[in-house]
Symmetry: D2
Subunit: 337 residues, 4 copies
């Protein structure tokens, strides 16, 4: 840890900072330059907030040197993590496509979706059984019935299942039906939920909050991993900016940034990232070109009648077209799809 004192900071202020560092167990190195005194602290403690030092008299700024996350950092596994589920590898040379409707609505709908996306090369089917809706009067999901339909359709077509877990109480249910448990953007910092998922032995797909920095996303992954579950994949799905022509601004650069900072696979969700069907294709292509390990895409056989998120769901024919384009793009980055 580095504490930079203000120009001309009083000796008494410097001593107070040194005392506090020492009391926290740090070994302190002091170095005095022409303008600034810098205090370097080496110690076992990393769980502190630099701002605690920045409000002390005479302090200019405080930098943490050691990353606040360890298990999630690239240094922990320089070769990268490959999550294996059956014969599907996420984070390997193949780009894994997870597709399906926003929510499971009925048996027919999910069967049609499974058939369509499996036929085009998706490896995982997605579908929500619990829907957090901003209106109390909207469709809230089919619950366990939905999960059962999803599982059955997946099994008929050789697909894996990813579905969202919205609160701790739902974990056992999800474990019964899903292969990958998804944590939604609004739950990215629900620490109680993350802690429980650390004890689970199935892979987690962790979505970035719409106003979360990449560092915060990695800290949330660390939270899960610190419980012993290392199979975490991250997911970029758009951040909130001043631009209003898209629902969110999909941060494609997060893909290479995560790749440098972490060993965890990174998935892109262009459906939520854009909110509009006509922008999903270009952004899905961009994500793969930027190095994404997978995609999460909403597909519905009749989007205009979807019970949720119809505007961002692809028609099956669009999905077919997209998969063709992605196969070509994957080659440019030495991958397959």
């Amino acid at each position: 840890m580095l504490v930079v004192m203000q120009e001309g900071a009083a000796e008494s202020h410097i001593q107070k900072v040194i005392d506090r560092l020492v009391s926290m167990g740090f070994i302190v190195h002091r170095s005095s330059g022409v303008l600034h005194t810098v205090l370097g602290g080496v110690g076992p403690v990393n769980d502190f907030d630099p701002i605690e030092f920045e409000v002390m008299a005479g302090v200019k700024e405080c930098h943490r040197i050691v990353s606040p996350y360890k298990l999630a950092s690239r240094h922990f596994r320089p070769g990268g993590t490959v999550i294996k589920i059956g014969d599907v590898e996420i984070g390997g040379s193949q780009v894994i496509v997870m597709a399906g409707p926003c929510s499971v609505e009925n048996r027919d709908q999910i069967e049609q979706a499974a058939e369509a996306v499996a036929g085009d090369g998706a490896k995982v089917i997605r579908g929500g059984a619990f829907k957090p809706r901003s209106s109390p009067y909207s469709f809230q999901g089919l619950g366990e019935d939905g999960l059962r339909m999803l599982r059955e359709a997946a099994d008929r077509h050789g697909l894996l299942v990813v579905s969202e877990v919205m609160e701790q109480a739902q974990i056992p249910l999800l474990l019964n039906y899903a292969d990958i448990l998804q944590v939604g953007a609004r739950n990215m910092q629900n620490y109680n939920l993350l802690r429980q998922l650390g004890e689970v032995r199935k892979p987690i797909l962790l979505k970035r909050g719409i106003s979360a920095t990449i560092e915060e996303l990695l800290l949330s992954a660390e939270y899960i991993m610190s419980g012993g579950n290392y199979d975490v994949m991250l997911c970029e799905r758009g951040i909130r900016t001043f631009e209003t022509s898209t629902r969110n601004t999909m941060d494609i650069s997060a893909i290479p940034v995560v790749k440098s900072l972490s060993h965890l696979p990174i998935i892109a969700d262009p459906s939520h990232g854009t909110g509009r069907r006509d922008k999903v294709l270009p952004m899905a292509r961009a994500a793969v070109a930027a190095g994404a390990d997978g995609l999460l895409i909403e597909v519905h056989h009749d989007p205009d009648r979807a019970l949720s998120d119809g505007a961002q769901s692809l028609h099956p024919a669009q999905f077919t077209e997209l998969m063709g384009q992605l196969r070509t793009i994957a080659k440019a980055v030495d991958r397959s799809i």
Copy 2:
């Protein structure tokens, strides 16, 4: 609802939009201008997403005319809501100050806090019993023991209690000890929690999420109110922007904006809004000058040793100074403190 068609939109596209509106139960008025055809829809449905129309062929844009919230809108109670708890009125002519430590640490600490803040004119004591911490190794709060200490200290000094409820399961416990249940910024869109709080008969203090628009804040209030609990106060506590010299950017203009759009009282939290003790005083003054109905302020008798958020906690002497300044400022806006 208004759907504006693109210049030269095909008649078939216009008809498709009309058909969809009619099928949703709208009565449609069509008006053709030199450049654009505009379709106005009057109907019972308000729970739809304009983007569903914007992705239709030939559509330029779609505007909801009716606000998505009703109970929370100023029109619902033009005179404004005053929440009464005993002889304390929130939203009335007095500016209500709620102060105390970030978290309840022990009996002595909370007693000292209660004595200090009551002596300076605060009406409510704050203190967390459950702390959502980004590190699994940090202090997680004292739970029910903390709530009991808080209640006892409050009672000794004639204060009300506000404390945060972090998940549904904690509601009964909070109801036993607190007068006001606080919903944290990260839970602003935890709809299951909001729904439960709609059935509670104690006032709710609802914090704005760091990337939530004011409209989204009002929608979350609506969620609670639609359950029958109309005693909701809103709280501005800083939004995330590109500026990094403060932890968050406290959106003081949200105070007058909420006042025009809604009848609900608006509280300001300059402690979380700035993250730094030295910025709390000016921002607390600014909030009252802008018309806030109350303040939520962290005060600790020994901030350097606080178990959480010490950097943003005021020393008791600073709190005393602040209260003096606020009394003067309140007069400028025809209020007392």
Copy 3:
């Protein structure tokens, strides 16, 4: 134009709005719904600010129906604009790569750059002669000497020249040496400069400001076009957001959004968009995958010794690698490079 009145707006307030609309030359249609009165205005005037109505008593909101830009809108030229310079076509089926150093430093440097980028298939060489530097002590560019070197190197290698014009007085000089005049992000709303460029008969490359919406970018293009110069290409180069792991957040979704809203070609600048060499390759690939008509890329034979922006300049070998990848990706979107 549409003015939506508040619920229960007084008749006198409605009349005041009608009077104002009529006095501005609008023909007004009034429609009264259950909750809201809506006033539709049809008229010749489009140059007004909706907020002027929104501050009137009883008004809820005001929407402009007609886009504030016309010449720049897709509707004006549904087939899209192709800018032809010699045998280079920008906006056609070929993706045009413009590459070269941030600034022209000396004859050798620019010759090496021209040779490298031409060899790999770039059609245009970039290089700044006037550098707006945040420090008054930094390298300020070679001025006309730099332009001459750039032109000569370009001619030796069959390349076109793009270079930035920073103020009106530099226009004649740029016209002498460059084929495309670039307007930097900070000048995107320098209306005097834009007006002058409307009278020029060479293509303009207009960069998006770091906090400009796409609508504002199109309005600036309109400013140039209204002077008679229709050869405007737009350029996405990153926006400012809360994320700090990249200098800017490159808004890849702006590429398909511009394609829907406008007929003008859209170029992407991943060098400024990311600020870091190691992120330029993935973002350049993403831009082409998302449908960009061209790229603007910084290349320097010795980036560590570049006089400006070395950190974001590619080594020539990286550029070669990138061009190979882009050729594959271009095929996926039915284009060549």
Copy 4:
């Protein structure tokens, strides 16, 4: 300067960074911790970009220790700067109000404005003579005629004049008529203009760009000061965020932040900061409560007919009301008005 190497960085990478630092004239201190090697550089150079080191192999991050600005920093003049113009002191114990119309429209208008604002206690009249308008067809300002009218009205009422300079060529004209030269938000990083204003001997009012950080604002002030003109006052006028219920988000916390980082006076512009008349009063009060040294406020005797920015101009009666409130608030922060 501090370069933090990655965990386990190769010795060859460390040496490369040391070599580069030495070649730039730095004396390098190396300190090896359990996880990270940290290189501290002391030297004469401060004009470099940390990112140049961050793209080097093995580097984790690079921090500048010395602020990039010196003359603008609080340390340079711990007591604060008071700018004296005649008997008006900006930055002293009195809060200085600058008020008047957005643009000078005619002799009558500006005379009425001068009379009104002087009567209520303003010390400076504002009014634009050159208007940068987003539409080429809008009112562009009266130019020198406007400045003359402004000067005459000011002199009749004992007011100082502040007016905007939009480009270098206008400086001599402004010097003839104005007491304070204003640099607009869009010109905050127009370095050529800033350099010229460094040679001027009249005070400069420098507005923060809508997406500028406070550090960038101070760097722009430094640019002017490095030319010898130390009479710079800064102005907060709203930043661009995701919130759309106000035109900009006025960053009130910038006021105390500037006060800690710099000795320069800070002015607030609630008219541009909010864009709406009904929000100007609360935000003006908030700015003074937060410690602003002055206000810049638009007042027009007939805002509905103003040729520019009518929606954000106060009626004279509102201005009178505001001044009364401000007098009370000023007392709370030991100031007068």
